[in-house]
Symmetry: C3
Subunit: 473 residues, 3 copies
């Protein structure tokens, strides 16, 4: 039996109704080739700064992608180690090929998922693969990709150009010296834009193991005395500015909840000192963290960095996998979240301030129509983040538009966020979003809820002016 072809249809994700499809196609045509703005993600800056050739298909496409790893683990029973996890493991060519075979053999488990969609796009559009992945075709596809990545036109910078990326954000530790970002900025041969993002989560969790050491490190790097909370705040201010001077446009925050009520200064100092002594309770740690997050919003009013938030995830849900492989291997699981009351302290104080912009991401879709659209429709500085992580797929993106548009419109949404460390999937991910937004707009036009000229303007705005405005690019 000859292998099945891999031939992604140009009308993928478009509504089946012929008239709606025609409109959708026209809208999509207007946006499909526009540059990619990726204001939040996890691609290592080194890849681009040093323009190092990728070594093999598995460590390029499979190992760093926890979206895929977890599905192969959960649905196909594959061991994470057999996929090269954790990232950075030394794997032989044979192991790499075997891992890639596991992906192809278990292709059916990915049916209907965005993971399959992304791989199909990458394989076909980036590497020219023309056969459907399977046990039979695994080696052939592996070889074809291997040949590609040995060519100069598959090195990270060349792909950056080919992917038509306008701006790409990394995610960075507040103590990072951002040397590689600087190296890129100083490189006369580089005319792209790679921005660091200030992500202080673990510095804002005073009851967590390791916080005291992190705090001392922060003080050192910022060259600020952090023996008081006031000093800690000053160190944060310093490092945010350091990031901003090196191109950062946003800070990113993920905690167990979205709360941010302030403490009195006295209470904040008391808890902070208790934390430095390692004596803070979990509840006190949460209270101080919420105060600290509130202060991040205050600092955002000062320095104008956009604040992004994506709370409510049980990190490292599987302690055995965490012990074996560390964090970020697919064992993070969302839970429900509350925003209406939680965000009030910062929205009431800063939510209509000219300099303040907050983007909230969630996997709890119930909050879109109940909390986020109502809040974003009223507060000037608040934007509803695009569906993120487990829900950055076609059906959920459509649900998001249908839940948010009614009372926040299109212009209080964030634009698409790929949030990925899988570099070659960036175009495919943005493409899904463009297709689904076109389909949504197409349905509005087909149902006479919007005129075509208005829909065209919105479609273009959503991938150009809107992300630029939301992320101050």
């Amino acid at each position: 039996m000859s292998p099945k072809p891999l031939n992604p249809h140009p009308d993928r994700l478009f509504p089946a109704d012929p008239k709606t499809r025609d409109i959708t196609r026209e809208l999509y045509e207007a946006v499909k080739d526009l540059p990619i703005i990726s204001p939040h993600g996890h691609v290592p800056v080194e890849w681009i700064a040093d323009d190092i050739p990728f070594s093999d298909p598995t460590s390029l496409l499979l190992t760093p992608d926890h979206y895929t790893n977890r599905m192969l683990h959960g649905a196909a029973g594959v061991e994470l180690a057999d996929l090269g996890v954790p990232v950075g493991s030394k794997i032989s060519e044979e192991q790499s090929r075997a891992a890639f075979r596991l992906l192809c053999e278990n292709w059916k488990y990915l049916r209907g998922t965005p993971v399959q969609f992304w791989f199909e796009s990458e394989f076909h559009d980036v590497f020219g693969v023309k056969v459907r992945p399977s046990a039979e075709t695994a080696d052939q596809i592996y070889d074809q990709i291997q040949v590609c990545i040995e060519q100069p036109e598959y090195r990270p910078r060349a792909l950056y150009k080919r992917f038509n990326i306008e701006a790409l954000a990394t995610t960075d530790d507040p103590c990072d010296d951002l040397a590689k970002h600087q190296q890129l900025a100083d490189d006369p041969d580089w005319d792209g834009r790679v921005m660091p993002t200030f992500r202080p989560d673990k510095y804002l969790e005073p009851a967590r193991e390791g916080w005291v050491d992190l705090t001392h490190k922060l003080g050192e790097v910022a060259d600020v005395d952090v023996s008081s909370y006031k000093g800690h705040l000053e160190a944060m201010r310093t490092r945010r500015l350091y990031f901003k001077e090196r191109g950062a446009v946003s800070t990113d925050h993920s905690h167990a909840d979205a709360r941010c009520e302030r403490l009195s200064d006295t209470e904040a100092e008391r808890l902070y000192k208790s934390a430095l002594k390692g004596e803070i309770s979990v509840a006190e740690g949460d209270a101080l963290r919420r105060h600290m997050v509130n202060d991040q919003a205050r600092l955002a009013v000062e320095d104008g960095l956009v604040m992004t938030m994506h709370p409510a995830v049980v990190r490292n849900h599987d302690p055995h996998a965490f012990a074996k492989y560390g964090a970020d291997v697919g064992g993070d699981v969302p839970h429900s979240v509350e925003f209406s009351r939680a965000l009030q302290p910062i929205l009431a104080e800063y939510g209509n301030h000219d300099n303040f912009q907050l983007v909230v991401f969630t996997i709890d879709e119930t909050t879109y129509s109940r909390e986020l659209a109502p809040l974003a429709g009223y507060y000037r500085g608040l934007y509803v983040g695009a569906p993120w992580w487990f829900i950055d797929e076609a059906d959920a993106i459509m649900r998001y538009r249908r839940a948010v548009t009614g009372y926040a419109g299109f212009y209080k949404t964030s634009g698409f966020i790929d949030d990925t460390r899988a570099y070659c999937s960036i175009p495919a991910r943005h493409d899904v979003s463009r297709r689904v937004d076109s389909a949504f707009l197409g349905s509005l036009v087909a149902e006479h809820r919007l005129q075509m000229d208005e829909a065209l303007e919105v479609a273009v705005d959503l991938v150009t002016t809107q992300p630029r405005k939301v992320f101050k690019l």
Copy 2:
């Protein structure tokens, strides 16, 4: 460039699939011209009782509509004061015109929202506007509407007739003497129906500021000694009957939660007395409020007034706007709510009683399939309220039908509620509901889940017999 036309399509909101659209059109034809029953809303009775001409487009269409104000504030950055907020502010013709211009200039921010849909309908159908709102057309539209409202056929009573309203409810304070309602009832030239609604919220929040004064006022107006809880209950009974005698058919309740468990009589009296002394705690205030709500249900069994409930909103979320403009300016934000356990005390006691009818509205869509449809499918007196406020738009109405119909059917739903103080938007709002219900029924017929004769009967019932039954009209 000549302005874009404003020309709402007759098939607006109808499914794109041609066959489903044909069926939908036929269903809609059967209901589109039927009279409007509006059993819950906020139009001032004075408008109709005194039939005063409207002064200008802004104070008629824009200022009183917090749906619109909040979007212009949140998405376009407009100051509320520039829209004439708060209602009743004295504004000059120039200010009125400028406010109206803000609406038209920022038209794009309303794309895809029901606010835009309603305005398009009002502008086109009520005032004959033929151009799309924009910076360029703002003055022209303003002038055209101004000319209209100076004509007798645009006075409130004439519009009432033209809008084909069968019954319209206002929302009123329990101490209101309903003089304007009486004036209308006594008017030999008036043959419409405007009903007061008994809304005792703030009298049932014993820990809230001002409650003691309100209670004394209630006692005076009812001519009942309210120094005991028993007296308070008697005063409520008296005022409810006062309302009923003047045409009220329902009472309306909105608190932070839907709970309604009873206290012992002794405990109720103890808390009540503590509240009168201003000594009640917040938690005790909630406990007494829940008991009072339960007593409202008891009274409903006695007097037969329908009980409506729409809980779980953070009122005046933005304290700065509240300080500046007062309540109801767009800063209310929903939060999640629980009904299954919360409503058990009144459902278990009164839920199958012949005289008791409860309609529950929610913005927490998760409760439709999980709680409200299961409850309403079982308890005779419970009806699932139509999508309300932030979710009274096409997509949410469709989701409501898809979530509720499976296990409560059509005949345990409330009929549409416009809940508006924007008088001229009433036909447009009911029209959205009729279009979407037709579309839902049309899809059931197209998918052979319902026969056409059954769908036609349901479509008509939903705007005639059903609201009459639910609100005892």
Copy 3:
């Protein structure tokens, strides 16, 4: 007026778009005649073991079906007693006929519900009814069904064959001797498969009334000393094995929440002894119950019985109906539930173990994309249960596929569960699921998200290999 015909359309529940419908039809053709696997339900084993003829249409179709009873009670105001409730009530032929008339007269209240869909299918496909139920046709339909059930081909075993059932599970008390299951197994004339299911709920609620007596009974039946928790655990182990030896493949669990954290052995023993003395508090009872549920998971690793869970229901919401008719008469109401944190203790310990399989059902649809799909995509042993009870209808099944597929795919879902005691509705219920799954897959193919050969394989897998794998059949 001649009665309306009853003539269910072959394309029921298929999408209206012609192209999508054609694809859907082709997919449905591939699965519609495949055998029914029903791994969870409530049909009494006696019916099949003794192959007793059914007595009358009401006690066969109406009285045991609380889906229908509650709708007739809640929407049409019918008294439950008039429908023959509770099951086992002695009713005369006249009463039976009158009850059946109530169903037919109130037919309109069932429009758009799955209850109407099931009855239409049963009436038409099983009993050859050709007229729509109504006051006028009630007696005629009653008579026609009565004639049928007096024929040998309408006895339970004949229907089992005709319904093309491959396997059918009952739900049984842990102390049940399963004699009727044994009788069936020993019957040389029987070649079907009826499996008991171990349902220990009430034995795992140490603070509930009656628990002490149940525990003593459990000890006796298991012949194990249950004066210690260790003994209780051993008794559970013994009874589970007893069930397994008699064909059981799963255990079933429904409690107020999904929590399952362990206690120390000492604490478990302490609480257990306190419970035996009737001195345990409600909170302690919950704590011990969660430990016991955790132990059920441990036992599942030992004996390999699949664990199913469907938590978060307020049982007997209406205490008056409960007092009059007992349990299971329609007064159960779901509430919200949390899984991400609740299930962590058993998922982290057993969730990737080769012998462990857990299927979680919910009526809280919010958990599908937020919690269950993320968890099932990662943990090998976890499967997302099909929409159950109030949400086992077309729209909810479609929402389930759209919520779960993105990050758990098709192969971490359970296959359809009818969960019914309405024997004749089993084919209709499975048919709904097959139609909707075909419609979902058809839409994926029409939108070029899946190739036709892949969709066909998935459609067949979902009713064959998948339930066999999930329930170890």
